[in-house]
Symmetry: C2
Subunit: 403 residues, 2 copies
């Protein structure tokens, strides 16, 4: 049995070890039927690659933790924009998926994903109409409001369509969207519950500014303060006799903080699936500098395509292969001592002066991403690999769905 297993596991490597032409690889990639046919080294570059062992471990870690804490798990799809990953989370026990924009939610609904939570208010021409249409297709969808007029407008549109839609209040706990917690929020909720075509669901409080606070104790302090306002708002509502059994918040950086706060019922993290350099540096619970609760599953595979001197190589991945909103560059972690800098739209410059290993023209370089969400949004597809084997190609279904 052991012998047979070894044979089976090495068979694709032998197959893929044969020299491949682009014509062959292009055909395999276009067919979508890639399993056992391609190795990671057969991929064209730059490619967005997700390591399945790491991704599955991340889903399992988060699901297990939140189950133990008795909190619901609604991962944010703005990170992955990929129906396949949303379905994998649902299968693992998620109650649904968050979406940042209505266009994103529509695509997820088209691909059979339910339990949708729209994390930003449906304001602006057309959004209310699209919201009511989505609610008709997926009645368990939850929308948020942070404004009385918008609440009235949403009710009016739901009434006109003969529907009743789920609405939560979005709290401003992070200086971004939302209504001021406490009495202002309670006032808005009193307005919501009066609307005959809205069903009050509860509170959303996303403290985005806390997710990346460096050091666990600082982060804990920040998140407890921010989320405390949400819990207090829930108490005010319950004192007023308004049932509020749902409070959604939390992030990859605060899942193990917010899930310990009484009154928070649901955690909506996204980045834990992939991780990135930004999250790696926030520090772990035990005081370590590296935040390793979740594995880095996401990389960009690049090729050295110019070598003007021995000091550096030019990679085929630049500003169109990575988002650049963080003050630190991608990292070629397997090539210790190298330093990446952007060399324009299409190029990355890899400084080799401190490198432990040579990099030659044509060599592959795998890079960890500074910030996963906007980087994933650059790619139409991500390539799912297990070890060196390419296992699947997943569409980034909601890529570019910013409306």
């Amino acid at each position: 049995m052991v012998t047979r297993r070894i044979l089976l596991s090495t068979a694709p490597a032998v197959l893929a070890g044969a020299p491949r032409t682009w014509a062959e690889v292009e055909k395999i990639l276009a067919s979508g039927n890639v399993k056992g046919k391609l190795l990671k080294e057969d991929l064209p570059t730059p490619s967005l690659v997700v390591d399945l062992d790491a991704l599955e471990s991340n889903i399992s870690t988060m699901t297990g933790y939140l189950k133990q804490q008795g909190r619901a798990f609604r991962p944010h799809a703005k990170t992955h924009k990929c129906a396949e990953i949303a379905h994998r989370c649902l299968k693992a026990g998620a109650v649904g998926a968050c979406a940042a924009k209505i266009g994103e939610a529509e695509v997820l609904a088209d691909r059979g994903v339910g339990g949708l939570l729209l994390t930003t208010a449906m304001v602006g021409r057309y959004r209310i109409e699209r919201a009511v249409r989505l609610a008709a297709r997926k009645p368990d969808t939850i929308f948020v409001v942070d404004n009385a007029q918008n609440t009235t407008d949403l009710n009016e549109a739901a009434r006109a369509a003969g529907k009743k839609i789920n609405v939560a209040v979005d709290l401003a706990v992070a200086g971004r969207t939302g209504i001021t917690p406490g009495e202002p929020a309670a006032g808005l909720v009193e307005h919501i519950v009066k609307q005959p075509n809205l069903k009050f669901k509860g509170i959303q409080a996303y403290a985005g500014h806390c997710a990346h606070i460096l050091g666990f104790e600082n982060r804990k302090k920040g998140s407890e303060e921010a989320m405390g306002k949400a819990v207090e708002t829930r108490r005010i509502l319950e004192k007023k006799g308004i049932e509020c059994s749902w409070l959604s918040g939390g992030s990859t950086g605060t899942y193990n903080i917010d899930s310990h706060i009484d009154g928070i019922t649901e955690i909506q993290p996204g980045s834990f699936l992939f991780m990135d350099i930004d999250y790696n540096r926030i520090g772990s619970k035990d005081g370590g500098e590296f935040y390793g609760d979740f594995k880095n599953s996401l990389t960009v595979l690049a090729t050295a395509y110019s070598k003007p001197s021995d000091d550096f190589v030019i990679l085929d991945a630049g500003l169109k292969a990575f988002s650049t909103d963080k003050p630190f560059p991608p990292e070629a972690r397997a090539l210790k001592g190298t330093k990446f800098s952007f060399g324009g739209d299409e190029h990355g410059k890899l400084d080799l002066r401190g490198a432990a290993k040579k990099v030659n023209l044509g060599d592959r370089v795998e890079l960890v991403i500074p910030h996963c969400d906007p980087s994933v949004n650059l790619y139409d597809k991500m390539i799912a690999v297990r070890g060196q084997q390419v296992e699947a190609i997943w569409a980034v279904d909601a890529r570019g769905k910013v409306q």
Copy 2:
């Protein structure tokens, strides 16, 4: 006649003035047949918008200038990635289009664009095979090399395919890709001309670092120094008896410098089509701070969708609506005194504390982009408007074609 003209020109506005539902607008947008049916204010947001009057003026200004200088014009498609714009440039007198990646060039070729120049060497698995295939479809395509082994490999692939392909030498005048100018480059050219299946075309020298030097005189000094090395390399080749009648370089920032340098035959600018904040600040030839040789034709149209306080509004455009590789944010130029900052993946925060005008929930805000190329790469479509009228929807055909 005048009366009739006025009636005709106002007719679409009257038509579009009627309240529109998303269902109606969605149908019109999906049909692609938008002329006379939609106003800019009917667009969903965020949308990437290109002003046709400004774009046409930019094409005409650049074409006219280079014609007068007797230089060929091969605009870089890495900026717009849009076959419609490439064709408009060709119609205005361009000799072709530059492409940064083979995937980009393939898409342009699919859409009937010829005269292609691949501005980066075809290194890495598959690129040579794709290059030879493209050359077979579009024999006037020019490829660049900066390495002897890659040159040999390219010749071998061309030989195997029974083709002869055009090759130029890429000079390192900007610390990025390319071979050292002067004797090292001449040595490589001597190797190129020995290859039976390569036809030596000339020199490419893109001095990207000069394009954004602040102040015309500084920029002139920088570009003359960098491009001087290319002209000198051309002289060395001619002394060796190697014909070199083609030297391509230049950018939006140096078109009126490089086109005055003897020996440069072709200019390959891209950003002049759209302009952006980065180019606006390099300074004009007459010493002005604002570089206004070309008009700002490109904007992102956004909506204020949350207003937590009177001090700011949250817009529906964040890190997925703009590239962030420049140290300055998008600008809402029509709303003087406002300041934009990023509020995460999906949100922009518009500070209203110094604003000359109120911004209310649901209001539209039009933003000039910090850096056009990687921002265009975020959108599947750009909306072409003339004044307030939507005239066309153009596919960003080569969006995401980073391979």
